[in-house]
Chain length 224, copies 2
């Protein structure tokens, strides 16, 4: 049995949940937000943070922390559908874009998403409007880049779904909870996201609800 | 035949050169600094940047960009020594720490290393002392973390050399060119680095020379 320590709106945890869903792996979850980690997580390893995946039946307990370790581990060990193409060139391209998404969206997560989330966590705190603007500007650049990739193929890296798509959808879905993605400016990306959203692996993400902050009205709508 | 587009003091390119060296793969290099990319690189793919590894004999030319795509590709296809442990738990730990090094050192590279390099590229520019201080402070934190890991095992992730060690050595060697690593504060890390430096894969990195900026005197010294 697998257990995932995560926080529902963290893009990294969302990527792992999508990968587990696509692989058809059952798992239980425990919450471990960055501002109040679950006490199990730092005990796994020096500097360990969520997302952390633990095999709770194995002895010693096998664990993997972080999207790179977890997703490559699943790809190597799970019997479910492949999330990296077989062809070496397409495989390299999927990993390049997966890494690109994680690096390029970090600024958006650190500013825009963090401000939105912290406003909710610390109720008396107003978001920093300069950081919101910086995050929104960075996000527009990332959307344009991803939209351009989709003009070439049906998915980001090649003609098949890969970890690059799951990583991008994981990030955008978190920003979309707060209505921060301007979908109408990026029509190819909007079409792709409608397809991603309709996958069974996406359902648990669309069911996430923060107490006191409801998502924007189109968050769960497959035809938005 | 493999060709690597890189810039000698870029930590990402250094990791790829170390991985190729450990694998015993021959390769030619072309320089592609971030401020003046080689014209081949952006033609490889939308948003492609160095390091980029190209198989110049294959048709169509196989390429991989970025450390994640390149190193995983080498691990999957090269006959040389394994750079990830076989055991799944140790393998996950090596990937966690490899990812940690790249994410945690990004701030050091963007501030301290970039200021040092840009002072040399744009001769009339004085480095920004606030950015130098911020980078030096961040680097001290990273050194302490890595030193703590080495108290457990001979290498960062387990008892064997892995991509986590190569990634850390690649970053530290670039900072060390300018004398920015306070080795005496981190004795375990200093011992480990002396072992890393004495590996044959390290020799080309120790031979790198920027025009007009010589490295600190201990840069090539195996007993520093």
């Amino acid at each position: 049995m697998k257990r995932l320590y995560h926080w529902p709106l963290d893009p990294a945890g969302r990527l792992v949940r999508l990968a587990l869903g696509e692989k058809g792996e059952g798992f239980e979850t425990l919450e471990s937000p960055s501002w109040a980690p679950h006490p199990d997580v730092p005990r796994l390893a020096h500097g360990a943070v969520a997302p952390a995946l633990v095999e709770i039946d194995s002895e010693p307990r096998m664990f993997a922390c972080g999207t790179r370790a977890i997703c490559e581990h699943l790809e190597e060990t799970s019997q479910g559908r492949a999330l990296l193409p077989q062809d070496p060139a397409a495989r390299a391209e999927a990993r390049r874009l997966w890494a690109w998404v994680e690096a390029a969206c970090e600024e958006v997560t650190d500013t825009l998403l963090t401000e939105r989330v912290m406003q909710w966590v610390k109720r008396d705190r107003q978001p920093d409007s300069a950081r919101l603007r910086r995050g929104a500007h960075a996000l527009r650049g990332r959307l344009t880049f991803l939209n351009g990739l989709l003009e070439l193929n049906g998915y980001l890296a090649c003609r098949e779904l890969s970890l690059a798509d799951l990583a991008a959808a994981a990030h955008l879905s978190a920003y979309d909870y707060f209505g921060d993605v301007e979908w109408n400016a990026v029509p190819e990306l909007k079409d792709w996201y409608a397809r991603m959203k309709s996958r069974p692996s996406f359902r648990p993400l669309l069911a996430d609800r923060l107490q006191a902050v409801r998502p924007v009205s189109h968050y769960t709508n497959l035809d938005f």
